[in-house]
């Protein structure tokens, strides 16, 4: 099998170019051999979006495949254009992280018509192999983690349960925040309905802050406040708002994605989170979908989130536990040194 990968510098340049101009372009014409196309998210928010591409590239290179990487620039139209480019350039299979799911049906149509199998992360789409976290399960696990604290510390009697939403994430937001509310109710079923409120955090600690302050101002009597959310950033926006309004003494939050639960700058009111180890998704995708396809033994297209082609395991942790989890850069390094098929969950989850 031919062995050619596109240069890192060239691809990085293409990625940056794509970020600026809103589209991606493959770095070079394809060579003989199996070619994996990767469409990264391209949202400037997150270190893991770049890491997803880095890991996919390393795993493809290790298998002697050609590798093309494009940035979806967090934009549905760009994602669709990138899918068309991968088809034109002769990709044999593709992986995408699409933070904007509205173009998923069109992408599936393009790839299916061209006979190019495609894996999608976290947002299910008919016609695409689904690889991802069980968002609802991760939400319930996080909610139950927070519920245990609410039961132990406040006898299941919080004044307010706040959900930090991120509506742009669509069904993922509903699964995670809904799952967390369900998990909390599993532990504390008697919390009255009127104490459950929500605000739009946009999943960003800084952006969600004004709306979080407004919500707290509208509930001036609430002292014991439990916070769940789409991600750590959203939960943190409410915690910080409480700090600014002088009401952070009895706030407990539990996030999702583990973005702000590691390191030496963790907010003490963030009591826990759920690691997804997003940088590790390519291990599942390549092990369970792409490798069989490259070997001529394509698996059936299991596209539903409830019956995925490969399930990524969530890793709920309390604030004390992540100290044993390395930072993203170190995790990627150790992941690529591990035996083939080993996931970040296998390596780093304290509660596995």
């Amino acid at each position: 099998m031919g062995h050619k990968t596109y240069g890192a510098a060239t691809s990085a340049g293409a990625l940056a170019f794509g970020l600026v101009l809103g589209f991606g372009a493959p770095a070079a014409a394809q060579d003989d051999g199996f070619t994996l196309g990767m469409m990264v998210g391209g949202n400037p928010c997150c270190e893991w979006m770049k890491s997803q591409g880095d890991v996919a590239r390393a795993l493809a290179e290790a298998r002697g495949w050609n590798y093309m990487e494009l940035s979806n620039n967090n934009d549905p139209a760009t994602a669709l254009r990138n899918a068309q480019i991968l088809v034109q350039e002769g990709a044999d299979a593709a992986i995408q992280f699409n933070g904007q799911p509205s173009s998923n049906p069109a992408i599936a149509q393009v790839m299916n018509a061209a006979g190019v199998p495609i894996v999608t992360y976290d947002i299910a789409q008919e016609g695409m192999y689904f690889v991802g976290i069980d968002n609802l399960g991760a939400g319930i696990a996080g909610g139950e983690g927070l519920g245990a604290l609410v039961r132990d510390e406040w006898d299941c009697n919080p004044d307010l349960v706040v959900s930090a939403e991120g509506a742009a994430a669509g069904i993922v937001n509903e699964w995670r925040t809904g799952g967390m509310r369900t998990g909390l109710r599993n532990i504390c079923p008697e919390i009255p309905d009127e104490r459950w409120v929500s605000f739009e955090s946009q999943g960003d600690a800084a952006v969600g802050l004004p709306a979080a302050r407004d919500l707290l101002a509208a509930h001036p009597e609430a002292v014991r406040i439990a916070v769940v959310g789409l991600n750590d950033g959203g939960v943190l926006s409410l915690i910080q708002a409480a700090e600014q309004l002088g009401r952070a003494d009895e706030v407990m939050g539990w996030g999702q994605d583990g973005a702000f639960i590691t390191g030496d700058n963790v907010n003490p009111a963030l009591k826990g989170s759920v690691f997804y180890f997003l940088e590790s998704y390519a291990v599942n995708a390549i092990r369970d979908v792409i490798e069989p396809i490259a070997a001529g033994d394509a698996p059936p297209v299991r596209w539903e989130a409830g019956d995925p082609a490969s399930q990524v395991q969530g890793c709920p942790v309390t604030a004390e536990e992540p100290a044993t989890v390395p930072d993203m850069e170190e995790r990627v390094r150790l992941l690529l040194e591990a035996p083939a098929g080993t996931t970040a969950y296998d390596l780093f989850c304290p509660n596995r």
Binding site: A16, C46, F199, Q202, A205, A206, V207, A211, R213, A218
Partner: protein, 328 residues
């Protein structure tokens, strides 16, 4: 207090309303703001609380400083500086790195001001040397800046427990500590703009470029001075931003842009240049910062604020255009 004229002898502070003089728009704006507060207070008496005051004034702080910077650009004929989000994040990143290095607060502030000023100087240099439209240039530099910042970092925040972190969470005289620099800036800048040489030159250049040139005022020098000063103020806003916002990413300041521009237009600052009273930014920013809080008290989702702000922006721009057409 009398309001000063420009060097052309024209009214530099905005439109006059019959019977109210130059203070008419200010009184109208304050009246609308008070009606909004009173209506919400009648519907929900707990709206009139210290918690609401804190929520609104926190929101005002960063927007207010950015609005002064934006208004200076508009008054001087630069229309709008669309690169404020990137300038703010770049200055904020420098502030965070200095804080992480253990530098004292004055060094952090100087670092942010210098970075912001340098950002403004880059914009001004491109505009002046290439003789390009400031809106196009700042739109482009904001785009470039965002992409470059993405290559530099994904997330940043000041360390917990540092002076700047506490600054973003403490109160002074019952109001957020970060609110006072904004209030002082509007007061001082509003006083000095029509009363200093550089201020009058900025107004003159914005009002009538040919007349200003005939009087020996250098358009390039004035533009460089205003954009650099405006950039420094964006640097000041970045100090308030990193102090209060916690973790941020390169795109975290984008949401401020609409509110800032709406505040400037609602304050009666002419986008055509040459007119504007910076003191009016206070009720303008206050009014727009109160709207999202009132929406929550009325039981509406915070997303509605964008709809309201959009309508207010359309109304303000239409009014600005109407005023410009009627101007002699």
């Amino acid at each position: 207090m009398a309001l000063a004229p420009t060097i052309d002898g024209k009214d530099a502070v905005g439109p006059r309303w019959p019977g109210l003089g130059a203070w008419g728009p200010a009184l109208a704006l304050v009246a609308v703001w008070l009606v909004l507060i009173a209506a919400t207070g009648l519907y929900r008496p707990d709206f009139l609380s210290h918690q609401t005051l804190l929520a609104v004034t926190f929101t005002m702080s960063i927007v207010g400083v950015l609005a002064v910077a934006q208004a200076l650009v508009a008054i001087s004929g630069g229309f709008l500086d669309l690169s404020q989000p990137s300038g703010l994040i770049l200055s904020g990143l420098v502030t965070v790195r200095l804080a992480e290095a253990g530098m004292p607060m004055p060094v952090l502030i100087l670092g942010a001001l210098a970075t912001g000023a340098a950002w403004g100087l880059v914009n001004a240099t491109i505009i002046v040397l290439a003789k390009l439209n400031p809106v196009i240039v700042t739109l482009a530099t904001n785009f470039i800046g965002l992409a470059a910042l993405f290559l530099l970092f994904q997330l940043a925040q000041v360390p917990r427990g540092t002076a700047i972190h506490e600054f973003g969470r403490t109160s002074l005289l019952g109001l957020p500590a970060i609110w006072w620099p904004m209030a002082a800036l509007i007061l001082v800048a509003g006083f000095f703009l029509p009363r200093t040489r550089v201020g009058r030159r900025a107004i003159a250049v914005g009002g009538n470029r040919q007349a200003a040139r005939a009087r020996g005022i250098s358009l390039p020098r004035t533009r460089i001075a205003i954009f650099t000063l405006s950039g420094a103020l964006v640097g000041l806003a970045s100090v308030l931003f990193v102090a209060s916002s916690g973790p941020f990413n390169p795109g975290s300041a984008n949401f401020l842009q609409l509110n800032v521009i709406a505040s400037v237009i609602l304050a009666g600052v002419s986008l055509a240049g040459g007119r504007g009273n910076l003191w009016l930014l206070f009720p303008s920013v206050g009014f727009l910062s109160t709207i999202p809080t009132t929406l929550v008290f009325f039981g509406l989702a915070s997303d509605w604020q964008l709809i309201f702000q959009g309508f207010i922006l359309v109304f303000a721009v239409a009014f600005d255009g109407y005023r410009a057409r009627r101007a002699p």
